[in-house]
Symmetry: C2
Subunit: 221 residues, 2 copies
């Protein structure tokens, strides 16, 4: 079944679904490390505050139906999700911008293991070029981007520069052949066809906490 | 209607719904700044790649039904969402950890405006205490946390310390009276009742891009 899906099917899988696959993967890794061999959708939902009908629907879409009365095989399902997410092989990453954010991302757990490898940071500031992040990622000149992308087969570019420089850096990534961009700059990028952009807006997390605090206030008002 | 909802109703609104309210808010701010006065759910869905039925359902839950043939009033709906998210007043924030991540967050756009104000960074490293972030947020000693939280009525704590220090910092926030925590440390925190924790996992964004890249590969294989 999985083999018969086409690129347009793949495109139709929303970011929300992909995000849920990532969440399921973390839950399964947790269960696997605790030595659990099988899990039902109901138990997954209960333990990790998820929706069991949604879990069954999402997994069935990817060809996983579980066994009635037994549930899913934890390790097999985990490996399946790793393959579906395309992290069963290494993807090389370059971070543009070696300021606080770029340096933090270079050393961020999960950005440089299990499917992702940060080849380099790049920057235009001569004071930063030649340095290294704490974990040893080198800071190279932005002008070296085409060479790095070619030699290291870099697929993902991370934009961690000020908003005013984001569009130029985006253009440099695209010109070098990078086809997937993670954008942390608060800038609306004019996108090229065939290049996927995912913009991260960390403020949404604070708004979620504010919504929680407001609920408490309304209750005690 | 909104007044009759209870705290348990409020709790039942999932993080996903809250996240969508934040997304709608950004879309409406964009339309408002472009001078647009009304918008239909269909147009919102079309322009911002959302689901129109989901939009109507989410907004109806918060008492907004729009006008048939006209749609929603952009400014009125935006103000309504600002109030629902509880960002129509200032909430003070402290960031624990003045390393690259904490410094980046202190200067991150959206973390120190429109409803949020960063009172201080705190750290245990004498070399960092007394410094300031680029935007002028001071780094104070962690031991000063109770005083800062009391004097500035801090409601939100951000954990940007290494995983090994996260639980202690969490306990310090809770002891000082902070009731909402944004956690960037890759650590599973033992939570207190009546304290809301939102953990941020930036790797999910990379997995989403990997899923996209895999779709392209499958298509060209």
């Amino acid at each position: 079944m999985a083999q018969n899906r086409t690129q347009s099917d793949h495109d139709a899988v929303s970011e929300l679904t992909t995000g849920r696959l990532s969440v399921y993967l973390r839950c399964l890794a947790h269960l696997e490390s605790a030595g659990q061999h099988t899990v039902s959708s109901a138990e997954l939902a209960e333990r990790f505050h998820l929706n069991s009908a949604q879990i069954r629907k999402d997994l069935a879409y990817f060809g996983e139906f579980g066994t009635r009365g037994v549930g899913y095989n934890v390790s097999r399902l985990k490996e399946h999700l790793v393959r579906e997410l395309g992290i069963d092989r290494n993807r090389n990453v370059v971070i543009a911008g070696a300021g606080n954010l770029g340096m933090a991302l270079a050393d961020y757990r999960g950005f440089n293991d299990n499917g992702f490898q940060i080849a380099a940071l790049v920057d235009v500031d001569p004071a930063k070029i030649g340095r290294m992040s704490r974990s040893g990622i080198p800071v190279l000149a932005l002008t070296e981007l085409p060479r790095i992308v070619g030699e290291r087969r870099v697929e993902i570019g991370i934009i961690a520069v000020p908003a005013g420089a984001a569009q130029d850096v985006y253009a440099a990534f695209v010109a070098a052949g990078v086809t997937a961009i993670l954008n942390f700059a608060p800038a609306q990028l004019r996108a090229h066809e065939h290049v996927k952009i995912k913009s991260v807006d960390l403020r949404i997390n604070l708004e979620l906490l504010s919504f929680y605090l407001k609920g408490v206030e309304d209750d005690t008002a």
